[in-house]
């Protein structure tokens, strides 16, 4: 349902302005802090404006999947805890949380940022499992870009635990986890005929369609997802893609 | 037998040329597109598509068959074979003054009773009200009810009632078709009528159906 506040925001955007004074393609201030959790093998806190997302990496020894007996396992899970927003509810992960986790997963997996074949300990029996858990701490819009950024930042911060007699020794580390690429996810939102980046919570309410791109350092696109219940024009895709590629370079710089 | 043209959603069927649009079509830049799988009905002043399937969505003025499904404080809730339950307020259901504090409303209509009523109001958010205050509206006693596609009801009635008159006359049976796809039948020849109705439902878009049915019943 469209209320007068939504109409106001839409009117602003049509005129190329936003309620917080940003340009349409401008992100809020981004802060990336790594190594924020001492019990995780890697972690990162990302703030985009008031949106706060934490990603923690745990490394475990697991059985490989049957169809990839010589590869490590990568798993991404997202938790939309009710503490972060009145819209989030208690219970199993919502559709949105699952979709977010799976899009972050594809951005990392398909970019080959982590070479899973290097994480095999004993074919068919034991491989490293890399578990990325995303925890939303405050939902003020653009959770996907923040979650993806936190995830790659946390991976870059991850150390592989030391093994003794095949067992993990917590707190001692072998070496840093190798990360081959730094994929960045940028979500382009369509409001009327304008494209918008990094929507605030209020702006997300009026966004009808979104396109997310996972973009690698060499500008290759590794993951694409269309969101929203409205359609897109063919010309939208190229325009959104160009915008996302430019922006991805900016965000990648924050990873050092 | 000649058939009418079948159209599919999204199909551009014609130019608008200032004509009225029915519920089965919509307009994009002066072109008229179809919403339903259905049959195109195009005339000088209106364009519409009659759907071949779909549930009944009530509109004001429809004559429908309803089944009382609840007796409430100030009226009755009525199943009209639609996603929307209708409401029959006391004032629209009973002529006399009713003191709701003293009278049990089920005295007038009880759960399971069948009524032939008129859709008297449909709000934007689909609050549906029905009324019994018209000449043709009545409580229907006994008989049976069959369901057909709501879009096929006009075919069952025929032009100026031609089809239904033939069936009534040849079978000596009472038939009341509700525009919501419920048809009430009572009399000696109920099974014959049901057979005829299902034939009409199957072959509703044939031109010359009335003659065919007439012949079938004449034999």
């Amino acid at each position: 349902m469209e209320n007068i506040a939504d109409k106001y925001l839409k009117g602003l955007i049509e005129g190329g302005r936003r309620s917080d004074g940003r340009k349409l393609d401008e992100f809020r201030e981004i802060e990336v802090k790594v190594g924020v959790m001492k019990n995780a093998e890697g972690s990162a806190l990302v703030k985009i404006g008031d949106t706060k997302v934490i990603a923690g990496i745990k490394m475990e020894i697991v059985e490989p999947f049957k169809d990839t007996p010589e590869e490590g396992v990568l798993k991404v899970n997202a938790e939309f805890s009710p503490l972060a927003s009145p819209e989030f509810e208690i219970g199993p992960p919502s559709e949105d949380a699952i979709e977010l986790a799976r899009v972050v997963d594809r951005g990392i997996r398909e970019s080959r940022a982590i070479e899973l074949e290097r994480l095999c300990l004993e074919p068919k029996l034991r491989v490293w499992g890399v578990f990325i858990d995303i925890d939303i701490l405050n939902h003020c819009g653009n959770l996907l870009d923040a979650s993806a950024l936190a995830s790659i930042a946390a991976l870059l911060n991850t150390k592989i635990p030391k093994l003794e007699n095949g067992e993990i020794v917590r707190g001692k580390f072998e070496k840093a986890l190798q990360v081959a690429f730094k994929p960045i996810t940028i979500t382009v939102c369509k409001v009327g005929n304008n494209f918008l980046l990094d929507p605030s919570y209020e702006e997300e309410e009026i966004v009808e369609t979104k396109l997310s791109f996972g973009i690698r350092d060499d500008d290759k696109i590794c993951a694409i997802q269309k969101y929203g219940s409205k359609e897109l024009e063919f010309s939208d895709i190229e325009a959104a893609l160009d915008l996302a590629v430019v922006k991805s370079k900016e965000l990648r710089k924050l990873l050092g | 037998m000649e058939a009418r043209k079948i159209v599919l959603p999204g199909e551009v069927v014609c130019e608008r040329k200032g004509r009225k649009l029915g519920r089965g079509v919509y307009e994009v830049e002066e072109k008229i597109l179809t919403k339903f799988l259905g049959v195109l009905k195009e005339s000088e002043d209106e364009v519409d598509v009659i759907p071949l399937a779909g549930v009944y969505l009530p509109k004001i003025g429809d004559k429908v068959i309803g089944i009382i499904k609840g007796v409430e404080v100030s009226g009755w809730s009525v199943d009209i074979n639609s996603p929307y339950t209708a409401f029959l307020p006391i004032g629209e259901g009973v002529e006399e003054y009713v003191d709701v504090g003293r009278v049990d409303l089920s005295r007038f209509y009880d759960v399971g009773d069948v009524i032939f009523c008129r859709v008297s109001n449909v709000t934007k958010s689909k609050m549906v009200q029905v009324s019994m205050k018209y000449l043709y509206t009545k409580k229907l006693l006994g008989g049976t009810i069959v369901k057909i596609f709501p879009s096929k009801v006009p075919r069952l009635i025929g032009k100026g009632g031609s089809m239904i008159d033939i069936i009534k006359k040849k079978t000596g049976t009472q038939i009341i078709p509700g525009e919501n796809g419920l048809v009430w039948i009572k009399g000696e020849n109920v099974s014959k009528v049901i057979e005829v109705i299902s034939l009409i439902e199957r072959e509703s878009h044939i031109i010359g159906l009335t003659e065919k049915i007439g012949k079938m019943l004449g034999e």
């Binding site: 349902m1 049957k66 992960p93 559709e95 949105d96 699952i98 979709e99 799976r102 594809r106 398909e110 970019s111 396109l211 690698r216 500008d219 290759k220 696109i221 590794c222 694409i224 997802q225 269309k226 219940s229 409205k230 359609e231 897109l232 024009e233 063919f234 939208d236 895709i237 190229e238 893609l241 160009d242 590629v245 | 037998m1 058939a3 079948i6 599919l8 959603p9 999204g10 199909e11 089965g24 919509y26 994009v28 597109l33 919403k35 339903f36 799988l37 259905g38 399937a53 779909g54 549930v55 969505l57 996603p83 929307y84 934007k124 958010s125 689909k126 199957r202 072959e203 878009h205 044939i206």
Partner: protein
């Protein structure tokens, strides 16, 4: 493209249904509604709602799939819903619900797009008011060649794939999902390949629908 087969009205209790085969991938979709939505607090006063549930039958894949709703099914259910939603006149049935159940009976790649095609045909047969068809197909890159309608093996060995759906008369995109590594130019080429393939699928589907209902007449 693999052989496409369509059968309509297989679930007679549903308002509309369709079985769609793309080669060995088989999807069955059933549509119920619009119907009264329960519980009442889920009702939207200005629009109807669409619910989709995609599932894989346990016997549809090589290794038995544990029955029930896994994370992939949750995501794909949503992806299918938002691919279909732009085409439906949901505002015509406020407070009501249209339920779509789509099950993959046999999986050999491209299951979500097959599911979308089945859903579209089931919705049309159910008499749901729609702006247009929603036609879907998958495209991808294998050994640096661009391919259409990936089967299971191709899906596993592809360098990249895109799932695509669009409204052929309105020329608008409703599903755009991709994995792998693609350059901007490859994406452009894949989109135009997907569009062409969808147009072919559209012709097949139109033929089946008007064929069935014209047969009813004669």
């Amino acid at each position: 493209m693999r052989k496409i087969e369509v059968e309509l009205g297989v679930v007679t209790r549903a308002n509309g249904s369709a079985l769609v085969k793309f080669g060995d991938t088989v999807a069955l979709a059933a549509v119920y509604g619009p119907a009264e939505l329960h519980p009442a607090h889920l009702r939207e006063y200005q629009t109807g709602i669409l619910r989709c549930r995609y599932s894989l039958a346990p016997f549809s894949v090589e290794e038995r799939k544990v029955p029930g709703f896994d994370r992939r099914s949750v995501e794909l259910s949503k992806v299918i819903r938002v691919a279909i939603e732009p085409a439906i006149f949901l505002e015509e049935f406020p407070k009501a619900v249209v339920d779509v159940f789509v099950e993959i009976l046999q999986a050999d790649g491209s299951t979500r797009v097959t599911a979308i095609n089945a859903t579209n045909l089931a919705l049309i047969s159910a008499g749901i008011p729609m702006r247009d068809f929603v036609v879907a197909c998958s495209v991808g890159k294998i050994d640096n060649c661009l391919v259409v309608d990936l089967n299971g093996i191709e899906d596993n060995f592809s360098q990249a794939d895109i799932n695509f759906a669009f409204m052929p008369n309105r020329n608008k995109i409703t599903l755009f999902q991709g994995d792998g590594q693609l350059t901007k130019n490859e994406i452009k080429e894949l989109i135009s390949l997907a569009k062409k393939s969808c147009e072919k699928i559209y012709e097949v589907e139109k033929g089946v629908l008007s064929g069935k209902y014209s047969r009813q007449i004669s």
